[in-house]
């Protein structure tokens, strides 16, 4: 996936209100690692239906960070997981890692 996370949506939403941006970033830093960890644990335990739910939840943060292609990819991956298929997992892990690196630096 050749795209970089960005803060456009958050900037647009805040209308320049720095306090609100700061709050959203704090939530992102707190909530994303937990969602990622839950997904990874469920994946390790082969709980793919639960993984699909985790991906569903993560999709919102993927879209908040402006990752349009990754969002479309996550939709496919979520559908796959519901049928027990993990063929897209490596690329999805890469998306999570890109997001993780971006969020750490915020």
């Amino acid at each position: 996936m050749n795209e970089t996370p960005n803060m456009s949506y958050i900037h647009q939403l805040s209308g320049g209100e720095k306090e609100f941006e700061k709050r959203l970033i704090e939530i992102l830093k707190r909530e994303f690692p937990l969602e990622k960890e839950t997904y990874e644990n469920n994946f390790q335990n082969s709980e793919y239906e639960l993984c699909a739910e985790n991906v569903h939840k993560l999709k919102h943060k993927i879209s908040i960070l402006g990752l349009e292609q990754s969002y479309a990819f996550a939709i496919k991956y979520e559908d796959d997981l519901k049928t027990g298929s993990t063929r897209l997992s490596t690329e999805f892990d890469e998306i999570l890692e890109v997001m993780n690196q971006f969020i750490i630096k915020l």
Binding site: G15, R23, I27, E31, H60, S63, I64
Partner: protein, 238 residues
């Protein structure tokens, strides 16, 4: 409108709450990370509107709706557009917002909610309107112990002034001890529209609209961002 937000994702709640805070017609009473907590709250409190996530662990948004005896207006929020068809099987559902929610789409949903009548509520409104004289073309106001009749079609503007409202008509202005909310209940909704937290206008008396203000008789009245979409929908626009 008083509202609550139900979503297991804190980020999603924060975003909806922020959008509500920028809208003077909305007051967020509470936020809940799950439907169970919201159900307890609703047993003791009344709300006008619920922002409800569909996809929550244990208890989905649809499960939650089915537990409500008299559901208020509900705007669904979800990352999954595929539930849209199921959503409209519920009469209390006003709109369906796909995440990430944008401000224009949010405002459109609020405008829908403001015009939306939940089944059962319409009968109450009808009977109340008959009792209140809304089926007539006038209302009475109490000024200095005198009941003064004012025809609806003579009113072009009503302005909130602290504990009073100023009713402006073609010939005379009346200052009455009341609120915009109370008088709005007496006015025909087909003619009058709240365009700002301090103003209700007679839409038939608009002279022109420019950016975020409306000229009505000789008064220039601001239009709040949240109410502008509703006003535009009501205009007979060429």
């Amino acid at each position: 409108m008083n509202c609550i937000i139900i979503d297991d994702e804190e980020m999603a709640r924060a975003i909806i709450a922020q959008m509500c805070h920028t809208n003077p017609d909305l007051t967020v009473l509470e936020e809940f990370p799950n439907a169970i907590q919201a159900m307890k709250y609703l047993n003791q409190n009344e709300v006008d509107l619920i922002f409800l996530d569909i996809h929550m662990p244990d208890f989905t948004g649809f499960d939650f709706i089915q537990t409500l005896k008299n559901p208020p207006r509900i705007i669904l929020t979800t990352s999954d557009p595929q539930f849209a068809i199921e959503a409209f099987e519920y009469e209390c559902i006003v709109d369906y917002l796909v995440k990430p929610v944008t401000q224009p789409r949010f405002l459109k949903a609020i405008a829908k909610a403001q015009n939306f009548v939940v089944k059962g509520e319409s009968e109450v409104t009808k009977s109340q309107s008959a009792e209140s004289g809304q089926s007539e073309n006038y209302l009475y106001v109490n000024i200095d112990r005198r009941l003064i009749k004012i025809n609806f079609d003579s009113i072009y503007l009503i302005e909130a002034k602290g504990d009073y409202i100023l009713i402006k008509t073609e010939n005379k202005n009346y200052t009455v001890h009341s609120t915009l909310k109370k008088i709005a209940e007496k006015l025909p909704t087909s003619v009058f529209l709240k365009i700002h937290r301090s103003y209700i206008i007679n839409i038939h008396r608009i002279v022109d609209i420019e950016d975020n203000s409306v000229l009505i008789a000789k008064d220039v009245i601001p239009i709040s961002r949240a109410n502008r979409p509703v006003l535009m929908q009501r205009l007979n626009l060429l």
